[in-house]
């Protein structure tokens, strides 16, 4: 009896002390704030559509990528603990033309307040915060406030607001009624922004409707007498806009040297507050597009596209699909993110979230592309080809076992491994099973369409070469250690594990040469770029001859390192955000 009571008491105790999250602040106003990951589409009178991503964070996560002056102002207002405990709502807006702004709000005992705006041509930092919706959110509430709209009183503001009921229908610019599901309240506001240096001011008169879980969905009013407003749209998917990243110089067929580019950090451009260095940690590995990188921050809430040039990396955009991003990749003209909410989200070149689709399980493995369409494998073992424009599944096939690793599209087939130690080849158009073999627990796959060959490393330490035509195992070899990369090029296969580098003849599997273990390898023409603990090597894949080498500092404990080749540039990224780049010549 005592034993049972003790066990039960402990079980209850563990459940009681398990506190996943703090109670939501903001009082009754919180219900009008969009949930994390929500996307709204709005249009203005001039027809410009704005895609807004909403994210909810607590503490530093919400302010890491803001300009320093905003972060400093927040610490100045609330102190260290106040910032760390701040419950934030962030709305990232992208217009058709690519203009981007970020609005940061706080949920507190005051209700919902605006803290800052950045990323566009105008920026604000409100001190004290500008209360937009009172904590009771009850019609009849009214309040006023005044303070600085930029640090040091460069701009000041005065505001007078009141909550009013929403009576009657809310219509968009085409006369379509906007849903009021869950209830809406109105806020009438008059905000005056003044420049004390010359007395110039801007007056905003606005009536805004806030609806439950969707934020401001409709507004009308004027800015200095000129009418302004917005209305929510219900378009389900968008056409991609913006030019895909341009063609970059390609790696020469027979590379001769690695030319170091200056070591750099990740830079964020801001037209108002000025450029600044991104503060953050990044989960790895990185994904490479033609001449840019796709990174995910180590908290997993931000998907980021970084443009590379000789001087470094500048952020094109960041997306927040909601929840935690567990994998990301560039596929065709899309950038994809998969999240722990079992969603796959697609962004265009402007960073607008075009669509998101729900899968049966989390997609942990990196998505791949069959033509322009994304192909994903869920942990439950379903392989899906998604329509690039809508995210709708074109086909979905169960592997009959948990999925293992990323899908590998090659030509008109898609290879997918599973946890029942099988490798399946599916028809890329229909998803039909073409062949299936027992391959062991596959860790890494590399394919060569020219040779109709797939080379895979299994966890058991076996390397298999498989014919893409029929799945016949052409040869086997043994690999000590944990497989990390396979590069298949110029008639040779380089398999890299943490203990050995093994180059094999792609026809026979005969060992061509051996080397020490490495962290990763990537193909560069007829050569291979290998990332070791303390250097990057450019090697001839057939002979193992070290064509060139470049030293790198060994990474510190807890810092992960990844390598990618974009165009002719070898990029080594640390999880701390430090970049090293070499041009392959």
């Amino acid at each position: 009896m005592v034993v049972s009571i003790t066990a039960l008491a402990l079980a209850i105790g563990l459940v009681v002390v398990d506190v996943p999250e703090a109670p939501v602040e903001g009082g009754a106003a919180a219900r009008y704030v969009p949930l994390d990951g929500h996307r709204t589409l709005t249009t203005r009178g001039d027809g410009v559509i704005t895609v807004t991503e909403h994210s909810r964070t607590v503490g530093l996560d919400g302010v890491f990528d803001a300009p320093a002056s905003i972060v400093n102002a927040m610490f100045g207002q609330w102190g260290d603990r106040g910032v760390r405990e701040a419950q934030l709502w962030r709305a990232s807006r992208t217009e058709d033309g690519g203009a981007r702004t970020v609005d940061l709000y706080r949920l507190s005992e005051l209700g919902v307040s605006q803290i800052a705006t950045w990323g566009g041509e105008l920026g604000f930092v409100f001190e004290p915060e500008l209360v937009l919706l009172s904590s009771t959110a009850t019609p009849g509430d009214s309040w006023s406030s005044q303070g600085d709209a930029l640090p040091g009183g460069v701009l000041t503001y005065t505001a007078a607001m009141s909550v009013v009921p929403v009576t009657g229908a809310l219509l968009d610019y085409d006369g379509v009624e906007i849903s009021q599901q869950g209830g809406c309240v109105g806020v009438q506001a008059t905000v005056v922004i003044t420049d004390p240096s010359d007395g110039a001011s801007t007056t905003l008169e606005e009536s805004t409707a806030w609806c439950a879980g969707r934020g401001p969905v409709w507004s009308t009013g004027s800015i200095d007498g000129e009418s302004a407003g917005l209305a929510e749209l219900t378009i389900r998917s968008l056409e991609p806009l913006g030019e895909p990243v341009g063609e970059a110089a390609s790696v020469p067929k027979r590379p001769a040297a690695l030319v170091a580019l200056p070591e750099t950090t990740l830079q964020v451009a801001d037209g108002f507050f000025g450029d600044y260095i991104a503060i953050g940690q990044y989960s790895l590995p990185v994904s490479a597009a033609v001449s840019d990188l796709v990174l995910v921050d180590d908290r997993g809430d931000s998907l980021e596209s970084w443009a590379l040039d000789d001087s470094g990396a500048t952020r094109r955009w960041s997306g927040r699909p909601g929840g935690t991003v567990v994998s990301a990749a560039a596929v065709g003209d899309l950038t994809l993110a998969t999240t722990d909410r079992r969603q796959v989200a697609a962004y265009d070149a402007l960073g607008r979230r075009l669509w998101s689709t729900t899968t049966d399980e989390v997609v942990v493995a990196t998505p791949a592309g069959a033509g322009a369409d994304p192909v994903v494998v869920t942990r439950a073992g379903n392989v899906l080809r998604l329509d690039a424009r809508t995210g709708a599944p074109l086909w979905s096939v169960s592997l009959g076992a948990d999925g293992r690793g990323a899908p590998v599209p090659v030509g008109d087939i898609v290879l997918a491994a599973d946890e029942r130690e099988r490798l399946s080849a599916l028809d890329a158009d229909s998803g039909d099973l073409l062949w299936r073999i027992d391959a062991g627990l596959v860790d890494v796959i590399s394919v060569s369409q020219a040779e109709s060959l797939a080379v895979l490393a299994a966890e058991s330490g076996t390397v298999l070469a498989v014919s893409l035509a029929d799945g016949e195992v052409l040869w086997r070899s043994a690999l000590p250690g944990l497989a990390r990369s396979i590069v298949n090029s110029a008639g040779a296969v380089l398999v890299v594990s943490n203990e050995v580098m093994l180059a094999l003849d792609s026809d026979t599997g005969a060992v061509l040469w051996r080397g020490v273990g490495a962290q990763a390898a990537a193909s560069a023409g007829e050569a291979v770029v290998v990332l070791l603990d303390n250097e990057v090597q450019l090697r001839d894949i057939a002979t193992g001859f070290v064509i060139d080498r470049a030293p790198v500092q060994p990474s510190s404990p807890g810092v992960w390192r990844s390598i990618a080749i974009t165009g002719a540039t070898v990029v080594v990224v640390d999880s701390t955000g430090v970049l090293r780049m070499w041009e392959v010549q």
């Binding site: 034993v3 049972s4 002390v17 760390r84 405990e85 989960s283 935690t324 567990v326 994998s327 942990r379």
Partner: protein
């Protein structure tokens, strides 16, 4: 006239491979002291709960929100179930530490050090108000130090006493309260900062101590081979019983069985070759190595018999020998794991108490070296050699069964590691071994037929040998139905091993001795079982075979080494019996099957 009816064949077969092993090998009251039963019930409930988590893992994930950790890797877990995982870990720890109160001093010290390190490690996860790092004296750390001191004192005080039921309750409460303070304190302080520490904390705990389940996983891997051997023998035995020892149907039935099995084995080996115009190239490549391995196992059999002066064991003796040595051999083969776990725990505890981070990186490097395939291979080679020496010593002392199986495991360990150490590939495979066993047995069958010496006993031996050759090639099929349900062959193999081990491998708990009293044996057995399935459950809940570590790879290794040794040992025992009978018989003893 007897009215007793022979049960249906399927019932006899099922009894032979399922009921009897469970009846003989389950945990049962063999004179337990007062209060042990409720603890066994609690541990059994925990075991069943963990199994439920494994079987229901996909459903649990589908029906709950997931929490994801990213960084060097991705870990997704159903959030609400994590306190349950922690509870299971604490139960396993409490069972282990309670057993440590009464076992021999050396083991008691090892187990207590491990428990204390785990407690301090979990306490160290309470980093303070904002998790900013550096040294902070937190409630979790203080509670863990108090719990550690109390555990050591309690162990010292109770070591010479007899088992008392309240010891478990006291240890359980002590561990539980300190863990709850550390995890709860950390969670409450972090939640206001938007940080959910529990998933990370549970993941860190499971990663840090999950390796301790490796010996159990290794032993679990041999279960499919054990079941295969039992099933092979049962199938033939049932045929004999169905016919009755005096029945005239016996030769006919055994003959029919032998023909069926022989045809099956020939077809299994020859059909693919005929259809594909020759033997599979991989099979061909593995034949020389496999033949050498077979000779390596067969030769010491007679060598050990000669040294002992008595014949080798029968199949029962081989199975009993494996039961005796499986866990010690598994621990020996993974001997580097416990020190690595202790080292890593110690360093992480020290780091949380202010140790410079440079020591941490040094430790990671040392752990990396110890875990490298070369060091592991060297360790396994040494263990292999030691096992052969032990086999020789035991044989000299007249022991049967254990020496043969130890020698076989030792030789297999050497055969699987030395070639890779010296960079020479000597491929061997279960399929090739199965083919060689079938070929040798069929040859013996033909010889006996030609010489008209195939009696009932020989037919039974040959049929069993042929079925075992099939078991050698197909034994993983036993876990296949489970893998279809679970969606992962690796998890299925380990789960099958854990469950079968829990219900059939508790024979050591039936014994009693001064250094290992019965309650301590029971508690240790249960701790091992509960911890093993908890680690597996965590991986299933994460839906990632590699989280916190890939138990399957160890189970596969156990199957490859211990399982192969068992089946080879059983086959050699059968051949040995056949050879002995052939050498002493001038005429068939039984009724001729050939006639």
């Amino acid at each position: 006239m007897s009215t007793e009816r022979t049960p249906p064949a399927i019932v006899s077969f099922f009894t032979g491979i399922v009921i009897r092993p469970i009846r003989e090998g389950r945990v049962r009251d063999t004179g337990w002291p007062t209060g042990l039963l409720p603890i066994v019930v609690l541990a059994s409930v925990a075991f069943v709960l963990a199994i439920s988590l494994i079987l229901g893992g996909p459903v649990i994930r589908a029906g709950s929100s997931l929490t994801a950790s990213v960084g060097g890797g991705v870990l997704t877990l159903p959030r609400f179930i994590l306190p349950t995982v922690l509870w299971l870990v604490i139960i396993a720890l409490a069972l282990m530490q309670t057993s440590a109160l009464h076992v021999r001093r050396s083991l008691s010290v090892i187990l207590t050090v491990m428990t204390v390190l785990v407690v301090l490690f979990i306490g160290a996860l309470d980093l303070g108000a904002d998790g900013a790092g550096g040294f902070r004296l937190t409630a979790g750390k203080v509670a863990s130090v108090i719990a550690a001191i109390a555990l050591i004192a309690f162990t010292v005080v109770r070591r010479r006493s007899r088992f008392a039921w309240w010891e478990f309750a006291a240890v359980f409460a002590l561990l539980g309260v300190s863990v709850a303070i550390a995890i709860g304190g950390s969670a409450a302080q972090s939640a206001v900062f938007g940080i959910d520490v529990v998933p990370t904390a549970v993941a860190i705990i499971m990663t840090a101590i999950g390796q301790l389940a490796v010996p159990a996983a290794l032993a679990a891997g041999v279960v499919v081979a054990q079941v295969a051997v039992t099933a092979s023998r049962s199938a033939v035995a049932v045929t004999g019983r169905r016919a009755g020892s005096t029945s005239t149907r016996l030769p006919l039935l055994l003959g029919a069985l032998l023909i069926v099995v022989a045809v099956w084995r020939v077809a299994d080996v020859a059909l693919p070759a005929l259809l594909e115009g020759g033997l599979d190239s991989e099979l061909l490549a593995a034949l020389p190595g496999s033949a050498a391995l077979l000779v390596l196992v067969v030769a010491p059999w007679w060598g050990l018999s000669a040294m002992r002066g008595t014949p080798g064991p029968d199949v029962d003796g081989v199975e009993a020998g494996l039961e005796r040595v499986a866990i010690p051999v598994a621990i020996g083969l993974t001997i580097t794991i416990a020190p690595i776990v202790m080292l890593l725990l110690s360093i992480q505890i020290a780091a949380s108490w202010g140790l410079p981070p440079s020591i941490h990186s040094l430790t990671i490097s040392v752990a990396g070296v110890l875990g490298s395939s070369t060091v592991v291979a060297i360790n396994r080679s040494i263990i292999g050699a030691v096992l052969i020496v032990i086999a020789l010593v035991l044989a000299r002392r007249g022991s049967r069964g254990a020496p043969e199986i130890l020698a076989a495991i030792g030789l297999l360990a050497l055969a699987s590691t030395i070639p890779s150490l010296v960079g020479v590939a000597v491929p061997w495979s279960s399929d090739a071994l199965a083919m060689l066993i079938a070929a040798a047995t069929l040859t013996a069958l033909v010889v006996l037929l030609v010489r008209r010496r195939l009696d009932e006993s020989r037919a039974a031996l040959l049929a069993t040998s042929l079925v075992l050759s099939a078991a050698m090639a197909w034994r993983e099929v036993i876990a296949d139905p489970l893998s279809i349900v679970i969606g992962s062959s690796g998890i299925a193999l380990v789960l099958f091993g854990f469950v079968w081990g829990f219900v059939t491998e508790a024979k050591p708990t039936h014994g009693d001795s001064l250094e290992y009293p019965r309650p301590a044996r029971v508690l240790l057995f249960l701790a091992n079982a509960v911890f093993g399935v908890t680690v597996l459950a965590f991986g299933v809940l994460a839906r990632d075979l590699d989280v916190p570590l890939n138990l399957d790879s160890f189970a596969q290794f156990g199957d490859q080494l211990l399982g192969t040794a068992l089946i080879l040992g059983a086959v050699v025992a059968l051949w040995s019996a056949l050879a002995v009978r052939s050498s002493v018989d001038s005429v068939p003893e039984g009724r001729s099957v050939a006639s």
